[in-house]
């Protein structure tokens, strides 16, 4: 059918969507990695624990 015919614009839009998808996925992984590093560092303290100490 004509509507299913692949057009150059479909490839371009697909490239844009995939690019944005990969960037968002990478951002999620990065935030997760950053969180792991922060919470496992020696200087990390939970806010409540800090309050109790005071």
């Amino acid at each position: 059918m004509a509507l299913r015919k692949e057009h150059e614009i479909h490839k371009r839009r697909s490239g844009l969507n995939k690019g944005v998808g990969i960037l968002l996925g990478a951002f999620v992984v990065l935030v997760m990695a950053l969180t792991m590093v922060k919470v496992t560092s020696a200087s990390f303290k939970f806010p409540d624990a800090q309050g109790e100490q005071n």
Partner: protein, 313 residues
């Protein structure tokens, strides 16, 4: 084919690809930002966790890219006139100005907040100030108002090593400001050489570059004066906490070459330049790229050799 389908087909041809949005971030400028910020981060006397260091450099780069998008949004009218910039996504009709504005603002907010969370609030605040300086002070105000646009505006491109240093240490000291001054003093001769061989571009766009307001002779003299001042600063940096014998050797060689290039530019007149299609000016411009790369590369090498007792004095 009906008129409607022809118009629709043309609209599709102009639809932006992923690469067009990426081009809004000025990838070549971003690579300079990444490199100098990385040197600032690694030259700092405090070790940084690799993930935090990676995030800091990434968000500094995104902040630099965001200010590039905001610059393209504001300057779309003059980008359309200049040969060097008319292929950019907005003047080429690929991206709407509003899209560039939205992307620039969104990435500015994201980069500042994420840098503050990943490294420290001081680094995030300094990145915010850098974006403000480049977009508001340079792009919106100075660029079209004064021939000193490149001199003062060059500060925006010189801040990344300072941000990298602050991301690592959380504090400020003299060494990152030496790196700042190196890029700050390097920017005018670099851009004025470009303005000499991109002859009518800035004139056509009405941007008051030194070549337009004070003439080409004065620009050649300015290049020599700034290159001489830069040489003093660059060689003097060798004796600071970020310098060392390797840096001193690189600085002596590169500044001798750079001064020689500036001297040749000053001695030429317009007839000489037009006869060989600005060969000396073009090679000076290329040399300026190598100049900055080698200076920062030497600072990086000194920092990386320090743990083995080799870097520094």
């Amino acid at each position: 084919m009906s008129d409607a389908s022809i118009n629709a087909s043309r609209a599709y041809e102009d639809e932006a690809s992923f690469g067009d949005y990426f081009a809004l971030l000025k990838p070549r400028v971003m690579s300079l930002v990444v490199f100098t910020a990385l040197v600032g981060l690694l030259a700092a006397p405090v070790g940084v966790h690799p993930v935090i260091g990676f995030c800091a450099i990434l968000f500094i780069a995104i902040g630099g890219g965001a200010s590039g998008a905001l610059n393209m949004w504001w300057d779309a009218d003059i980008d359309k006139v200049m040969k060097r910039t008319r292929g950019r996504p907005i003047p080429a009709g690929k991206v709407e100005p509003g899209e560039a504005l939205a992307l620039g603002l969104a990435l500015s907010g994201l980069s500042v907040i994420m840098l503050a969370l990943a490294a420290n609030v001081f680094a995030g605040a300094f990145l915010a100030f850098t974006i403000f300086f480049y977009v508001v002070v340079y792009t919106m105000w100075l660029k079209r108002a004064t021939p000193q646009n490149i001199v003062i505006g060059g500060a925006a491109g010189a801040f990344p090593p300072v941000i990298g240093w602050i991301a690592a240490t959380g504090t400020m000291s003299v060494e990152p400001w030496l790196m700042f001054l190196l890029t700050f003093m390097w920017t005018p001769p670099h851009f004025w050489a470009l303005a000499l061989f991109m002859r009518s571009d800035y004139d056509d766009a009405g941007v008051p570059m030194l070549t337009v307001t004070h003439g080409r002779r004065a620009t050649r003299v300015h290049i020599l004066v700034y290159t001489a001042l830069l040489a003093v600063l660059a060689v003097g940096t060798a004796f600071s906490g970020i310098g060392g014998p390797l840096y001193l050797a690189a600085a002596l060689v590169m500044n001798a070459l750079f001064l020689h290039g500036a001297w040749k530019i000053t001695r030429r007149d317009e007839d000489d330049s037009e006869a060989d299609n600005f060969k000396v000016e073009r090679s000076f411009f290329k040399l300026s790229l190598l100049y900055l790369f080698l200076h920062f590369g030497a600072i990086l090498a000194e920092a990386l050799l320090k743990p083995y007792g080799l870097g520094g004095w």
